[in-house]
Each structure stands twice: as C-alpha cells, then as structure tokens.
C-alpha cells in the first residue's frame, strides 16, 4: 500500500526518531511510504490557543498537501484528532465550505499509527523485538477523540521480549495540553507529578505512548527528576527488531552529538 506520512511538526523538528521509526516499520511490513514535502504544521496549536483565523492557511496547506493520497498516517493521536475534528470546523467558520468538505475527505483517509496498523493493514504482530519493561500511557486525544481503544496495547502485547506493565490511573491526563503546559504551568506540573508517580510505581524502564508531545512532557519531568525512566514513542518500539539496535539507547545519543 502507498501511504503518505503526515510527520507532524513536532516529530519533524524535535523527535525525528519517531517519524523515522514509522517509515522503517511500514516499509518492513511491505508498504511504500511517501513524504509530501509541502507539509508543515496542522495548525492544532493555533486552533487550541484561540487563533483559528491564523490556523486557516495551515489547514488549507494541509488539505492541499494530503488530498492526493488515499491513505495518510501520523505518529500522533493529537494531530490526527485535529485533522478529524477541527479542520472542517475552522474552514466552515471562515465560510469556506469547499475547503471544509475537502478537509472532511482528507480526515476520512487519515489514521493514527495504531489505527492504520490494526484497522487498515490488519496486523497486530509487526515482528518487533524490544526486551524491556514497558508501560503504556493512553494519550487523551487518542483515547477520547479518536477512540483508539486497546489497539496500541494489542500491538505491544505481540512484541517479543517486551514486558508490558499496566499503568495505574492510565486514563488521567498527563497535564500537557499544548499551551496549557505554559499558560497553566503549575496545574500542569501537578498533573505531571501524579502521572510520574504512577509511571514510577510500575517499575518500568520505558513509558510509551502514541504522541511525542505528551511524551516530551512526561519525559521532560522524568528527566528533570533524574528518575532513569525514559519515554519512547510507540512507533520506535514497533520498529525495533533483533537487528536494529534499541532506540533511545546511548549509542544513538553518541551518533547525535
């Protein structure tokens, strides 16, 4: 299958390892991945911060960029949530009905990674190997906007060597919330503290999720406290094999610096 990668601006700029893993994983499963270079940002930050008018050109760009493709995937529940639940609304509010219906059409063809794997490609065992104790945080937008349900867990359960431990109070928000983390930094930190407490209680060495944004938040807190627990995107775990080395291990840091 030919799949267009909607990389998301955050993964592109800050967490390319999650995007590269998405490419490696899909190619390993025998699919062709294309990267439309006209893409930048879906506009979610603008929309959620109260700047719908400013987001309009970004919505237009996103729709124009991805309209030619039958299947679009993003390693982010939140950005797919914005495409599915906000793009048409922003267009409609601006009085652009044509854009709104094209946005709806693109949204119908856009999938979060676990949705694509389980629903479209019909696979739960992706042939991954990841010998670590892992706990999974269901991010709010994948859980409540997209309703991905247990798809990520079904994928993780098939990973060889992976010891999956249940996260207590998993469905509670980690406190990220985009600009919420800055505008209400204290409340956000209080939510983060509880999330970290639960992550640490599992004894896992890795906390995973389907959103780099929430992982940046949880991981930023875990790093600040020098907990030794790291965050790794779901795509990186699913892309890992016996041959590929382990993502997030020091070897990769050496390459980076």
């Amino acid at each position: 299958m030919r799949i267009a990668l909607f990389v998301t601006c955050l993964a592109d700029t800050m967490f390319p390892q999650a995007a590269k893993a998405t490419v490696r994983l899909l190619e390993r499963l025998g699919h062709e991945v294309v990267f439309p270079t006209g893409q930048t940002c879906c506009g979610q930050m603008h929309i959620n911060t109260g700047y719908q008018q400013e987001a309009l050109p970004l919505v237009r760009r996103h729709v124009r960029t991805f309209d030619p493709y039958d299947v679009v995937v993003a390693p982010s529940g939140s950005c797919v949530g914005s495409v599915r639940h906000q793009h048409a609304m922003v267009a409609r509010r601006a009085g652009d009905e044509g854009l709104a219906s094209r946005a709806e059409s693109v949204a119908e063809r856009t999938y979060e990674l676990s949705e694509l794997l389980v629903d479209v490609l019909g696979v739960t065992d992706v042939g991954a190997y990841y010998p670590h104790r892992v706990t999974y945080h269901p991010t709010c937008h994948s859980l409540r906007m997209l309703r991905v349900g247990d798809r990520p867990l079904r994928l993780l359960r098939e990973v060889r060597g992976l010891d999956l431990v249940e996260l207590p109070a998993a469905e509670q928000c980690c406190g990220f919330g985009g600009t919420f983390a800055v505008k209400n930094a204290d409340t956000s930190t209080a939510m983060l503290a509880d999330k970290m407490r639960h992550v640490l209680a599992t004894g896992a060495d890795v906390c995973t999720a389907g959103d780099s944004s929430c992982l940046m938040h949880i991981g930023g807190g875990l790093a600040r406290l020098r907990t030794g627990v790291r965050t790794v995107h779901l795509a990186e775990i699913l892309a890992a094999t016996e041959q590929s080395g382990i993502p997030g291990e020091p070897s990769e840091l050496v390459v980076r610096s």
Binding site: V7, C9, A11, D12, T13, F15, P16, Q17, K20, F35, T37, T40, C41, G43, M45, H46, I47, N48, T49, G50, Y51, Q52, E54, A55, P57, L58, R61, Q86, C140, H141, L143, R144, M145, E171, C173, G175, G177, G178, T179, F180, A181, V182, K183, N184, A185, D186, T187, S188, T189, A190, M191, L192, G219, G220, G221, A223, R224, V255, R256, S257
Partner: protein, 476 residues
C-alpha cells in the same frame, strides 16, 4: 422586563453576584495547588464520587440513549424557549402562583428582597440553589436586614465558615470532617465542645440547629432543577430532606430559576430523573424529589412566587455553538472527572460555577473578557465531555471561547509569526535550523525565556536533534 430590548442580549452585570473571580485562574490555581489539605480533600472526594457514579451508570444498558435523549430535549427547549417560558408562566399563574421576570441579578435580588420584606419576616430558609449563589442573593438579603439560612448541610458549612462554595453539588468538598467540626464549634450556637468529628455526630448537631429554624421561619427561597411547562410544575431534587422541609413548611415560597431549566412535558422528566442522580451523586434515584404546582389550599405554602432569571442566559443562547452550555443540569459530573478541578479545587475558578462547565458557562454569562483566563483552565483532555449526561461538548466550547478571548499582544504577534512561517516551507526549514543552532548556544533545555519558562521550571526540554526528519528523508 424594565428595559426595552435593543440589539444583542445583555451579559450578567458586574458588581453583583459571584460569576467573576478577583484574579486570573493561573494565579488562584497556584495558591490552591500549594494547599496540601485541599488537594487531599478534593482528590479523595472526587475519586470516591467518580467510582460510585461509574458503577451505577454501568448498570444501565441504555445510558447512551438516555444521554442522547437528554441532549435532544435540551436542544428542543432552547430552540423554543420563549414559547415554553410563556406557557410555564400561564400555567403557574393559573395554579395560583405569581411569576416574575428578572433580566439580571440586580432585578432578581430586588424582586426577592421586596417579596420577603412584604411578608414581614426577617429570616428566610434556603434550599441549596446555584441560581441564588450566582446572583449573590444572600448578600442582597443581608443588606436588607434579612437573615438567609442555608439548610443544605454542605451549604450550611460554607455559610457558617464564611466561605465560598467550591463545587456545584458538594459546596464544602474542600473541607474535611475535622475542619467542619471546627466551623460548627465556632459558628453554631449552643454546640457541645465535646463534639467529635464523626459524620453522624456532625450531622446530628446540624439537624438540631436546622430543625428549630425550619419550624420558626415563614419564608423559604429555593432554586429549581426543572419546571414543566405543560402543567406549571416545579421540581427540586435533593438528598437530605431539608429541601422538602423548606418547600412544605413555610407560608411563602419563592423560587429563583434560570430560564433554561424549563422542560416541555412531564414525560421529559423521566429522562432527567434517571440521568441526574446517577451522574451527580452516583445514586440510582435521589432520596427526595419534591414537585409542586402553584398553591394548594390548606397544604403547603399559600403564597408561591417564581422568579425567572436571565442574567446573561439570552446572550449565551444567541451563540449557536456556545448555547449548548445551557443544556447543563448542574450534576457536576464534569467536575468530578476533571484533572484540573481535582488539583485546584473550585475556588480557583472565581465563579460559583467551577470546573469544566464553569470554564465555559461563566465566561459566556459575563462576556469572555471578564473571565478571559477560564477557557484556558483545561488541558482539553476531554474527560468532561464523556462524563456529561447531556453531552455538552465542553472541549469544543473551550476552543470556541478561546477564539473570542482578547489575546495578550506578545502572544498574538508570536502566533501570527508562527503561522506565517509554517505556511512557507522554506522559512519553516530555516526556523528548524535555527532551533538546531540553539544547541550550540548552550541553552540545553534549561531556563527558557518567559513565557516559556513555565515549561522549564519543572521539565527538561530535549536538545533539538542534529537532523530533522525532512533532512533525513532528503538524504535517503
């Protein structure tokens, strides 16, 4: 109404009532977050209610249908509100009640105060009511020399503690039993200093105190959960029986009701009387459901006044996205599942309507400029939408209101610049390169400048990678 209607409906007036906080949410929240007793009390209470409510909702196979029905009935009500209110007025009048129309808090307070004064009573007993808290009726009565006595146990605790309610259903949720004992000893006349903090002992002294008041007060003020337009019947649901006392013992009953509380028919109550108790207290049925239609000779209050309160509701109704906030039946399910509310408690929201529903209702009632920080008091996690028994899409409303808030100038400039850059891939790539260069500048994820220092105060920021994804892709 005393004013001629010209143009857009008015928002709730400032200077009266409790819809506006004195400081922005982040400032108030910061203080609340430091109160570990508050965090413990609210966290414990919301966790308990959440579990209880979840269990009884799980018993109903048709819960989703009930939610859809509740939402549809409310949408219908809002679509023909004037007609239903006039029908309600006619039926209440027919049944011997008197209907008053109050455009705002000032009018409502004046109407109620005048009605109480006319009875000659210098005290009223009150059934817990959000509408009267919203308009600051207790203060207005006190200014007129009339003592209002709250008879709901939690509301009484708040009143005796000279405090403010912090939850729609459990106004004293921020207090634990040791604190309640202290308040009773300090403020309730004739309490034995040997009083323990056993819930039964605390309830017993409150009951003794209230019983005397019930029997010696001639006027009661209540709110209303519902009003049935087809018969002019008012409904109050409660758990303690204090409401039943207030609604039946006094000679005069004055009910203050938000105009959105009307439902068309008795049959509609069937839906809400299933939704409300399960979503709010986590009970299958609320212990007391009191309904009355006008006055009945020889039985109950012989004078009944219904005050229909607008106070910004028509302005909310005028916004076709925002109006769904008027579906709210004040169950507080959204508060109980909200991770923000659970940590900050209700006072941080400033308004009597805290939590997610408060964050979308208060700014609409007052106009967003007066509660500009509230639409941002959410991580948009969406738990409130799932919990709402009448399916108010609170996250959608929050985003909608954020779009109307007057933005700080610096933020507007930054957001416009970001959008401009992101709509130009070459500029965007240059910005990505600039972010990478910051690695060499030695910032290393510490001490970002304001306003981004909110992030680095408690979290590390990873260094930008040596290569963006698109650079990697280009090199493949």
């Amino acid at each position: 109404m005393t004013q001629t209607f010209l143009g857009m409906p008015a928002t709730a007036p400032p200077g009266v009532g409790h819809l506006r906080g004195e400081e922005p949410f982040p400032v108030a929240a910061r203080r609340a977050l430091a109160d570990s007793q508050l965090r413990r009390n609210v966290g414990h209470a919301t966790t308990t209610i959440r579990a209880k409510s979840g269990a009884v909702i799980g018993e109903l196979p048709d819960w989703e249908h009930l939610r859809a029905a509740g939402s549809a009935i409310k949408a219908d009500v809002l679509a023909r509100l004037p007609e239903l209110l006039e029908q309600l007025e006619a039926k209440v009048t027919q049944a011997g009640g008197v209907v008053h129309w109050a455009a705002d808090a000032n009018e409502a307070n004046r109407i109620v105060t005048d009605l109480v004064s006319a009875t000659g009573s210098d005290r009223v007993i009150k059934v817990k009511s959000m509408a009267t808290q919203e308009i600051g009726l207790n203060e207005a009565l006190a200014d007129a020399g009339i003592e209002p006595v709250e008879t709901d146990l939690a509301e009484l605790i708040v009143q005796l503690g000279d405090d403010r309610p912090s939850h729609i259903l459990v106004p004293a949720i921020h207090r634990n039993r040791a604190e309640i004992r202290e308040i009773f000893l300090r403020a309730m006349p004739g309490v034995d200093p040997a009083l323990t903090d056993e819930p039964a002992a605390l309830a017993a002294v409150a009951r003794r105190y209230l019983r005397q008041t019930f029997l010696s007060t001639k006027v009661a003020v209540s709110g209303a959960n519902f009003a049935v337009a087809e018969t002019g019947t008012l409904a109050v649901v409660e758990s303690e029986g204090n409401g039943r006392m207030c609604l039946t013992l006094p000679e005069t009953l004055i009910t203050v009701m938000g105009i959105e509380k009307v439902v068309p028919t008795w049959r509609d109550l069937e839906v809400f009387l299933q939704l409300l108790p399960r979503a709010s207290t986590g009970e299958r049925m609320n212990p007391y459901t009191s309904m009355w239609t006008g006055v009945t000779p020889g039985d109950g209050p012989q004078a009944f006044h219904l005050v229909l309160l607008d106070n910004g509701r028509s302005a909310v109704l005028a916004d076709e996205v925002g109006r769904q906030a008027l579906h709210c039946i004040r169950c507080s399910a959204c508060l109980n599942v909200c991770p923000v509310y659970e940590r900050t408690g209700g006072h941080a929201y400033g308004s009597v309507y805290p939590g997610p529903i408060g964050a979308v209702l208060s700014p609409q009632l007052t106009g967003v400029a007066d509660n500009a920080s509230l639409p941002y008091a959410s991580s948009l996690c969406g738990a409130c939408y799932d919990a709402c028994p009448v399916k108010i899409n609170i996250p959608e409303l929050l985003v909608h209101l954020r779009d109307q808030v007057p933005h700080p100038r610096g933020e507007s400039v930054a957001m416009a610049a970001a959008a401009y850059t992101m709509d130009r891939p070459r500029l965007y790539e240059a910005a990505q390169r600039a972010a990478r260069l910051s690695r060499l500048a030695g910032r290393r994820g510490r001490g970002l400048p304001p306003p981004l220092n909110g992030w680095t105060a408690s979290r590390d920021l990873p260094d930008p990678p040596a290569q963006t994804f698109r650079d990697w892709w280009a090199e493949r």
